[in-house]
Subunit: 207 residues, 2 copies
Amino acid sequence: MPRFKVPEVTVERLSIYLRAIKNLEGDEILSSQELADLVGTSDGQVRKDLAYFGEFGVPGQGYRIAKLKQEIRHILGLDSTWGIAIVGIGNLGAALLTYPGFKREEFEIRAAFDRDESKIEKVWRGIKVQHVDKIPKVLSERQIKIGVITTPATSAQEVADKLAKGGVKGILNFAPVRISVPKEIRLKNVDLSMQLETLSYFLRKLT
Amino acid sequence: MPRFKVPEVTVERLSIYLRAIKNLEGDEILSSQELADLVGTSDGQVRKDLAYFGEFGVPGQGYRIAKLKQEIRHILGLDSTWGIAIVGIGNLGAALLTYPGFKREEFEIRAAFDRDESKIEKVWRGIKVQHVDKIPKVLSERQIKIGVITTPATSAQEVADKLAKGGVKGILNFAPVRISVPKEIRLKNVDLSMQLETLSYFLRKLT
DNA sequence: TAGATTGTTAATCGATTAACAATC
DNA sequence: TAGATTGTTAATCGATTAACAATC
């Protein structure tokens, strides 16, 4: 669908635009300037980002909110439901099971895994925890295409290998370590240490 | 200290370099090429990033690991300890209290806050939860310069205002909403929804 | 000295911003 | 029509990559 190669930052902004207009009610029409103000960017940037995917606005008018919302949802692949598995049911894994950013129609947590025998068979938020060795089998059975790694750093690579075997297309990695995956699999690292450390850098300069 | 304006991505990579060489043992000397291989970038990028801050290597040799580690720690402001407060002791907040990326010498969680009376006075991982109204007072008493927001979206702005009043210099926001803070305060959004949605975009294209 | 690798400059690439003709 | 705002092109800005003299 995209007409040129789309920068990743553009995709990230689309997600942000979508959230901004979700919270919107009433107004039928929105200009690129108004949307820009909502998310803290420029009108040109908004139009440029959207232009990668087509023409969604009306010159002289703006964008019909309902239509724009639907278009962005479609672009982002949010008009169907993704099956998700969470691996590593420690504090963070358990927290993500209920985190509102995760628990939404578009994303359905369909399996949870851990290595620790004492956690197996326990039910967390309606999902029964299974042993990591079952990952490949369960993933294909339940059409799970996204894996979330919340294990300690030491297990992350091993888990990534199992997820790959299970046929996931994308991995969200919270373990504080770089892992390698086959190039067909999209890997996103959420590196909380790094976030804190860059914060430290910028604060450091202030003293 | 920096000789020119430093791009944020450079600071992020420094954090990644640091973690890579932390896990290293034995070898006394490391070349930019070796470090690049460890983190998946180029040798030139490594040298460029470091060059913003000084000359840490020896031409013809490479970088002394121990020295490099110390220099990067210093650049990132990790040679002292930052006081942290976590606001919103739901699943995610409680998880971060023990997350290894957070629980480290350089970062010390010194306070936890919630609005829910039923949580107040309870002790989580050795930290007594206090009412959010005490934020300004407690923050200045305990030298807390970083605030972490793990509340629902609806309370995030209110909490940010209280953190600002308490004199934090940086905020890490996990609430799925954009908040605004005085410009002296450095704001980092960790947007898990957005991460999942961009993953969805790239997977969508594969079908 | 010869070989290796740094620090840095110049060339390239890509994303953002500015500007405006086209269009409602 | 006049006014407003889009979609898009050109200009600018900034980051990455290539290349090499300086240096151990």
